[in-house]
């Protein structure tokens, strides 16, 4: 019973978040462990914005990101979960927003192409 409870506790927030996007696939990806403090900007197929899986109107994204990154000193990484079918126009918009908010690195969240292995180092480098 308790185990079932735990299972439902884990899956409930995943199902509840209305964010749906198909990540692009790649081969030489970097492994980035998930952390609580990570900021995730999602853009679904329709071009709607999600900040940490909560829907955010497009004109509020700038203000929200600026508020977050103004007080962040550790790393200015923004995890971008964008649908692979999106036009670059949309991505450029998001990048512009992020840059104006002080983001230094955009980490495009991707999926490992099935049956492939990275041919180069998969650890993130510090510094830049």
């Amino acid at each position: 019973m308790l185990v079932l409870l735990i299972i439902f506790m884990i899956t409930a927030p995943l199902i509840a978040s209305g964010f749906e996007a198909q990540m692009p696939q790649g081969i030489n990806l970097i492994k980035a462990p998930e952390e609580e403090a990570d900021i995730i900007l999602g853009i679904d197929r329709m071009g709607n914005y999600f900040l940490n899986t909560a829907p955010v109107p497009k004109d509020e994204v700038q203000a929200r990101l600026t508020a977050i990154y103004a007080t962040r000193t550790s790393d200015k990484i923004l995890y971008l979960k964008a649908d692979q079918e999106l036009k670059m126009e949309r991505i450029q918009d998001a990048v512009s927003l992020a840059r104006a908010a002080g983001v230094r690195v955009i980490a495009a969240v991707t999926e490992q192409r099935p049956g492939t292995e990275a041919t180069v180092a998969t650890a993130r480098e510090g510094g830049n």
Partner: protein
């Protein structure tokens, strides 16, 4: 197998599997939790406006994805298949592994990711999405 003891009560000789199922379920939960904890990403450095202008732009290598989907490195056309070899050729002898990517607005995100992926496979460490205005002189 079961021996009749006392008042006809059966003595169970099977292994009690309940705790095993318990342990298995807990293991299942642990795996469910740890599975999504690793994210696969491709890092794209965002050039700061001021920084982009101070960098010697003539030395930059700009990979362009044209409106029709064709690729070009510093305005020289490259095929999709030849991209990896070309990037190796350029970056194997270069000290700074910096590549700017400029994509036409009509191209798909997945195409740009594929280009970045190939570039990372060629040993390029740092990426910049070239700001349209800053990258223009470098490409010409």
């Amino acid at each position: 197998m079961a021996m009749a003891v006392g008042a006809g009560e059966d003595l169970k000789s099977e292994i009690n599997i309940t705790p095993f199922i318990d342990v298995l379920l807990v293991l299942l939960v642990i795996f469910m939790i740890t599975q999504p904890l690793l994210r696969k990403v491709l890092d794209i450095q965002v050039p700061v406006e001021a920084q982009a202008n101070t960098v010697d732009q003539s030395q930059n290598i700009v990979l362009e994805i044209m409106a029709d989907g064709s690729l070009a490195i510093n305005t020289q056309p490259v095929t999709q298949e030849g991209l990896s070899a070309k990037l190796h050729e350029i970056y194997d002898v270069r000290a700074d592994k910096l590549l700017f990517i400029r994509a036409d607005n009509s191209r798909r995100f997945s195409e740009v990711i594929r280009a970045i992926d190939v570039a990372r496979g060629a040993g390029v460490k740092v990426f910049g999405l070239a700001p349209p205005e800053a990258a223009a002189p470098a490409a010409s």
